[in-house]
């Protein structure tokens, strides 16, 4: 006598439910150790860093609207991402150096304007990799290829975002990715909340990064106009910088310059002249600015203000 099919089905379902109840806690335990791992990380392993780098380069290609050195022109390839946070066209007006000499009167100006002009010239020189055509094939081929060096502007910087997102997903420890994406999100795309969330994601993966804290401080200062929070974040950035860089033979003084000048600015805006002077003195002690005389002048101005008892 054969048992009815319905009975067998019910039995199988019961066994399945029992097994599921037994196995579920174990399955959760298996995955908990790798909670942050996603498919790409599991499949690609360390190879994902190479892919992440490629995605970042792709973002750079998009930033230049396709005008980019090939693997055969690697000597001209950008070596860092600094140019990706440069303005699209040179800013008219007084020399950046002159602005930097009067920092207390130019709170809206970017302190790194000091370096922008030089960096822009360097980048322009590096990107003139084409040279004159050597034969008719090359000359005619250039009629089809993209041969002008431009940077994305007028909100088109959004086109970088997919590649930066992908790069961050593949290699969460690549700090530049977060900085470049956050820079454009907050500056030109009007998305400070998304920029903050992305920077915090970066900080979760790289808790000791002073570069990310510097960028987060800029976001608070420039987008939210919250000098107090910005000052706190830059203080943390300065602490991290001191822990990681101070004892190195060649410390990252450019970053220190940015942190301290900005910190001084935030402290000054809150009337804490003493702390502002302290921050600038750190920059002076580490020779963090190519124009120490501008910093000295600022320290003097702050001392006068402090002695005058403005606050």
């Amino acid at each position: 006598m054969t048992p009815p099919a319905g009975l067998i089905l019910a039995l199988l379902l019961t066994i399945e439910l029992c097994l599921a109840a037994c196995l579920q806690p174990r399955a959760l335990a298996w995955t908990q150790g790798r909670a942050s791992d996603h498919l790409a990380q599991v499949l690609l392993g360390d190879g994902r860093q190479i892919l992440a780098n490629q995605m970042f380069v792709e973002a750079d290609v998009y930033f230049h609207s396709g005008y980019y050195p090939s693997v055969f022109d690697q000597a001209h390839a950008p070596t860092n991402a600094q140019h990706m946070t440069l303005p699209a066209v040179p800013q008219p007006g007084p020399e950046p150096d002159a602005q930097a000499r009067l920092p207390t009167h130019h709170h809206d100006e970017e302190p790194e304007a000091l370096h922008d002009h030089h960096a822009e010239e360097e980048h322009e020189k590096a990107m003139s990799f084409l040279g004159p055509p050597r034969n008719w094939i090359e000359r005619f081929g250039r009629e089809f290829a993209i041969t002008t060096h431009t940077h994305l502007a007028n909100g088109k910087e959004r086109e970088l975002l997919p590649w930066l997102r992908l790069s961050a997903d593949l290699d969460p420890h690549r700090v530049e990715t977060y900085i470049v994406a956050a820079y454009w999100l907050r500056r030109d795309l009007g998305k400070p909340k998304e920029a903050e969330a992305f920077l915090r994601e970066g900080l979760n993966a790289n808790p000791s990064s002073y570069e990310l804290l510097l960028e987060l401080g800029r976001l608070y200062y420039e987008s939210y106009h919250d000098a107090r929070r910005a000052g706190n974040v830059w203080t943390a950035a300065l602490r991290r910088w001191t822990q990681q860089e101070a004892n190195k033979p060649q410390p990252d003084v450019a970053a220190l310059g940015q942190i301290t000048v900005r910190l001084a600015r935030a402290e000054e805006s809150q009337g804490r002249y003493g702390k502002a002077i302290e921050a600038l003195e750190i920059a002076l002690a580490h020779k963090a600015s190519p124009h120490p005389e501008a910093l000295l002048a600022q320290v003097q101005a702050l001392r006068l203000k402090s002695a005058g008892g403005d606050h």
């Binding site: 396709g66 034969n135 005619f140 089809f144 086109e159 975002l161 999100l185």
Partner: protein, 260 residues
């Protein structure tokens, strides 16, 4: 001429009877539409990555259609021995070569029209604009490039015994030209004299398909139109290569024994 178009018609019918085109089109459409649904940082208007991916898929698909369709034409006729009654019609061997080329090239053109219609629809939906002149240039130059690829595959089908070997070699040659064709002379400068001479010779001999591929990038990055005169010159350049390669294919096919 009639014989050539009759042969071409058969090739076109073969394309829509086979599943290759449909599979490639569905894959392209599904991947593009899926990618189009992804949002990044709640930012609207991001479209270049989508154009980039879609055009890349169109390029890959069109190359696959061109090479695979062409590579099996003459070997299939020889293997099934239908080439013998065909040549007894009488249809000359030159007409067979020209007919097969015309059929494959037109079939590629038809496939390309469908692909570009899809691409245009996706871009118009995402960007809200339709730069028809740019799309036409991209389509035309890609089709002209495919003419060279089809003729190369046809030559390969006369030289190599198996369509698979022919297809693999054609893919390698086309990929090689697209990737390093423009830099052969630069590479030559770094090599010892004999190798340098060979690379330079290769540089001036190969069809520079990378010119045509650059149009894809122009479309992705919203560049200006290419001068129409340059388009015409590039078309003439492709036509010249097609002529030379088809002549070579005919010369080889003329002496080729049709039965093993």
């Amino acid at each position: 001429m009639n014989a050539i178009f009759c042969l071409a018609g058969i090739v076109i019918k073969e394309l829509y009877r086979r599943k290759d085109f449909y599979v490639l089109f569905v894959i392209t459409a599904v991947i593009t539409l899926l990618m189009g649904t992804v949002t990044f940082f709640h930012q609207a208007g991001i479209v270049r990555y989508l154009k980039d991916i879609c055009l890349l898929l169109i390029w890959v698909s069109s190359l696959v259609i061109a090479i695979v369709t062409t590579a099996r034409q003459i070997p299939a006729e020889c293997e099934s021995r239908t080439i013998l009654p065909l040549l007894a019609k009488p249809v000359s061997r030159w007409q067979v070569v020209a007919g097969k080329f015309t059929g494959c090239w037109l079939a590629c053109g038809l496939a390309l029209v469908v692909f570009y219609l899809f691409f245009g629809a996706v871009c118009a939906a995402k960007e809200g604009r339709l730069p028809l002149a740019q799309y036409f240039q991209a389509f035309w130059l890609q089709w002209a490039m495919l003419a060279v690829v089809v003729s190369l595959a046809l030559l390969g089908s006369v030289v190599f015994s198996a369509p698979s070997a022919n297809a693999t070699i054609c893919f390698s040659v086309v990929a090689g030209i697209l990737l390093v064709g423009a830099y052969l002379e630069k590479l030559a400068a770094l090599q010892p004299p004999i190798l340098a001479w060979l690379l330079t010779l290769l540089y001036f001999t190969i069809p520079h398909l990378e010119w045509f591929y650059a149009v894809r990038e122009r479309l992705v990055f919203d560049q200006d139109l290419i001068a129409w005169g340059d388009c015409a010159l590039a078309t003439a350049y492709a036509a010249a290569y097609v002529g030379v390669i088809l002549c070579a294919a005919w010369l080889l096919f003329r002496r080729k024994p049709l039965t093993a």
